[in-house]
């Protein structure tokens, strides 16, 4: 491992702690857009510390699926955080590799663990959220994979470091495929962070919940882990969007700095997107995601026609 790789690896590990801050940034920006002062971006850390000191609750009638779900979800999410590309020289974790499709798979595993824990409690709101989450994931996964496809075509690889390097190349920006991916990845950010118009993380209406539904039963450290996961997902998808689709210099130090610098920008953009529209009706959101996926297909077709190169 070279020195650069070591530094980038250390950065990835630091990223494990940075996710909640990114979510806090979105919340602060949203509060500002709503005419409020709001809590500062560090609030999620205070919440996590508070939750960590509280007791957990095991609802009667639940078993291992409920009890292990937060740990499983946190573990796979942590693995996905480590994989977020911060540079072409980033380390390939010997136990994970650096393949983009694995990130998709890890997110899906977390989703499944959440759904299974919802079935374990069999409480209506958890079930409702899990069912919606999985239903949205049908077109959501197509969108995500389509996005990675149009990134992988110009890059010639699904290695996240290769995708990062490709986004630093001017030629990549001349392909319609990349631009299609750039548009589609905006939707990916909204859907994977559970934000409007797909989901509303601040909702207090139990009948409309998606990601919040299965959380309703959890307390204490379980909830702390799941809250951390919600923040870490911001880092994962915004990091993917920045590393794979947004422009950055190809040099190791400058590239990593610019990639990370994109994240607050994306957080602010997310807050703005969330504040400017209502949540979509159930059943319509999957169609929006599917149209995003079709957009990426057009990008792939354009690539196959050799357009732009």
């Amino acid at each position: 491992m070279t020195g650069t790789a070591a530094v980038l690896g250390a950065l990835s590990v630091l990223a494990l702690a940075a996710g909640p801050g990114l979510a806090g940034l979105v919340q602060t920006a949203k509060a500002r857009l709503q005419g409020r002062r709001g809590a500062d971006p560090l609030q999620p850390y205070r919440d996590l510390r508070r939750l960590w000191r509280r007791s957990v609750v095991d609802p009667e009638g639940t078993g291992a699926a409920y009890r292990t779900a937060p740990a499983v979800i946190a573990a796979v999410t942590a693995a996905a955080v480590l994989m977020v590309p911060l540079g072409a020289d980033a380390p390939r974790w010997p136990f994970l590799g650096a393949d983009a499709l694995l990130v998709v798979g890890l997110l899906a595993t977390a989703r499944m663990a959440g759904a299974v824990s919802a079935w374990d409690t069999s409480a209506a709101f958890g079930m409702m959220g899990a069912a919606r989450d999985l239903a949205y994931a049908v077109s959501g996964e197509a969108l995500l994979l389509g996005t990675l496809l149009v990134a992988a075509l110009p890059a010639g690889t699904t290695d996240l470091r290769g995708l990062w390097a490709a986004a630093a190349q001017a030629e990549t920006w001349r392909t319609p495929a990349h631009w299609a991916g750039l548009l589609a990845v905006a939707l990916v950010v909204l859907v994977e962070t559970g934000r409007q118009p797909i989901d509303n993380p601040d909702t207090h209406l139990e009948l409309t919940m998606i990601h919040e539904g299965p959380l309703l039963e959890y307390a204490g450290r379980d909830l702390a882990m799941l809250t951390w996961v919600a923040g870490a997902r911001h880092w994962i998808v915004m990091g993917l969007a920045a590393g794979v689709f947004l422009p950055h210099p190809s040099g190791a130090a400058a590239g990593a700095v610019v990639t990370v610098a994109w994240l607050p920008v994306l957080a602010a953009a997310t807050a703005l997107a969330e504040s400017s529209q209502a949540k979509m009706r159930l059943g319509r959101a999957p169609r929006l995601l599917a149209s995003g996926a079709v957009l990426t297909l057009l990008g792939a077709v354009a690539w196959a026609f050799g357009a732009g190169l």
């Binding site: 957990v56 609750v57 095991d58 609802p59 009667e60 009638g61 078993g63 699926a65 009890r67 937060p70 740990a71 573990a75 693995a79 390939r92 010997p94 994970l96 590799g97 393949d99 499709l101 798979g105 899906a108 595993t109 989703r111 499944m112 759904a115 079935w119 069999s122 409480a123 209506a124 409702m128 069912a131 999985l134 239903a135 949205y136 049908v138 077109s139 996964e141 197509a142 994979l145 389509g146 496809l149 010639g156 690889t157 699904t158 290695d159 470091r161 139990e206 309703l216 039963e217 059943g283 319509r284 999957p286 169609r287 297909l297 792939a300 077709v301 690539w303 196959a304 026609f305 050799g306």
Partner: protein
Amino acid sequence: MAELVLAGVALIVIGALLPLRRPLLAAGLVVQATGIAAVGVGGAGIAIGGETAGAAFSPAISPAFGADRLTGTMLALIAGVALPAALACIAYLRHVARPGAVASLFGCFVLALAGVVTARDASALLACWELMTLLPAVASLVADASPPVRRAMFEYLAITHIGGAGVWAAILVLAERGAIGGPPLGPGGATAGFAAAAAIVGFGTKAGLGPLHAWLPRAHPVAPGPLSAVMSGAMVAVALYGLVRVLFQWMLAPAWAGPALMTVGAVTAVTGIVYAAMQPELKLLLAHSTIENMGVAAAALGASLWLHGEGAGSPAALAFGAAMLHLLTHAAAKGGLFIAAGAVQGAAGTLDLGRLGGLSGRMPLTAGVVGVAGVSLAALPPTAGFVSEWAVLQGAFGAARIDDPVAGVVAGGTVLLLAVAAGLAALTVAKMLGLVLLGPPRTAAAAAAVEAPGPMRAAGALALAALAGLVLAAGWILPGLASMVPGGIGDDGPDLLDVPATGGLAPAWTLAVLAAAAFLLTRVRGRSAARAPIWLCGQPELARAPYTGAGFTKSFRIAVDGLLRSERDVEVERRGGLVHRVTSTGRVPDLVDRFMYDPARRLALAAAAHARRLQSGSLRAYIAWLGAMVVVCLALLRAGWLS
């Protein structure tokens, strides 16, 4: 190794004869299991060692058997499913009408499967192929000759034989051209096109590829549990094996074959899993999921064929390895699930998903099989199911790089369809895990369920071991499988699936690290976990109302209702200004059935009215008709009409 296989075959023959005397039923099955294990170990030895045994492929029409690496792999696959199934038989067959005959037929069925993959000439291949088709039908009817089973088996034989004609046509054409064992048939000309199309239709039908998949969800669920495990895990895979021999080895496939197979596979995958998600019964759900997985494997084969034709050897080999690995992982998962389904049926007396629930605490081993196999089926990392799905997707990505406008549409579309299928597979598996294992038991029978008897548990443990082994060994297996087509890819050792143009995977290490991390996190969860009732908005526990399967998939159905055309009727009974009662009925019709098979059936029935004289209603007569058809085909061939 070949000797081991032969010894195994001999043991299976003995084991198939023993159960005909009732007291020797269990002994016979144990002997069968031993034989199957020997065949499996021998097959794996051949696959790894690379030796060729027995006869080589020959265009002559004289029965010959032999094995190469691919055959060895398939033998290992068959044994991997059949071994636990044979053990499960010991417990399962107590519930059927004529256990001795079924046990005997089980052995014969396994031999027929092994026969197809070891056949080295057209006659042996076709003979074993027909046996493979007929034996499960006979076994199912022997076990239970009730009208629904008879009807299902009739439809199974009807569809597989109509489609199966393609197998005969393709094999006979290839044999006639000397392509089996000789130089492969060239890609040009009508003959090659005909052979490729006939093979895709013929083998595809048996593999459950759409739209001729309709027999599969009818036949698999009514067969006795262990038999359906072998049908759903191994038989469909053997069908795709046949397709591999034809398209990859005995001919240079025409250019359209790859994209066509890819498209058929991707569409089949989505269709299969859509209807799997809607099924109200466990075995029906599993059968539809088999269709999905064969679609995924076929799509990978299509990508491989296409890339091969474009001269992209390394990605082509990866896609080929992906398809084979997918067959293996699916076989392990599906075999385990069908065996678990048998255990669940024995314990709860039903497979109706609405009448199970809460079995995880009562049947821990069965629950483990359902859980691990289910997660593998949903293609979630770090299971073997994910590794194969990952490799399949890499194959599709590779095809999308082909310099051809069609590639963008077909390969790009395949990526999206496979993603949709994966998403739906997660929905389906979550529904299955929830309804079978989790939540409160929905009936008294489910609440009183106890773990399956010893042999069934042993079968479950074997299935679990197979799944675990595949995760640990995926790093070896995938390159090995890929190298079974020309121009194989490098083998970078067991830890990292270091495939060019990817970021690599390390399934075994990923599993270890994730499991360790999750374990550590559960340790820091806090020592004193308080028990409290589930929070139901302040309602008492009796308000806890578990979801139904249809309720769980409703969110998805709402999004695609225009496509699914689900039928719903709500009847509100009003009397004297008050609502007395509300009744809801609903179902999701199978659109392939509605728009293809129902009209076809009506047409066929109308035709049958005219041809009643030919109709005797007995199985033998149908087989006779079929034989006559083959003779006609052969005659046509001789006359040169078909070439």
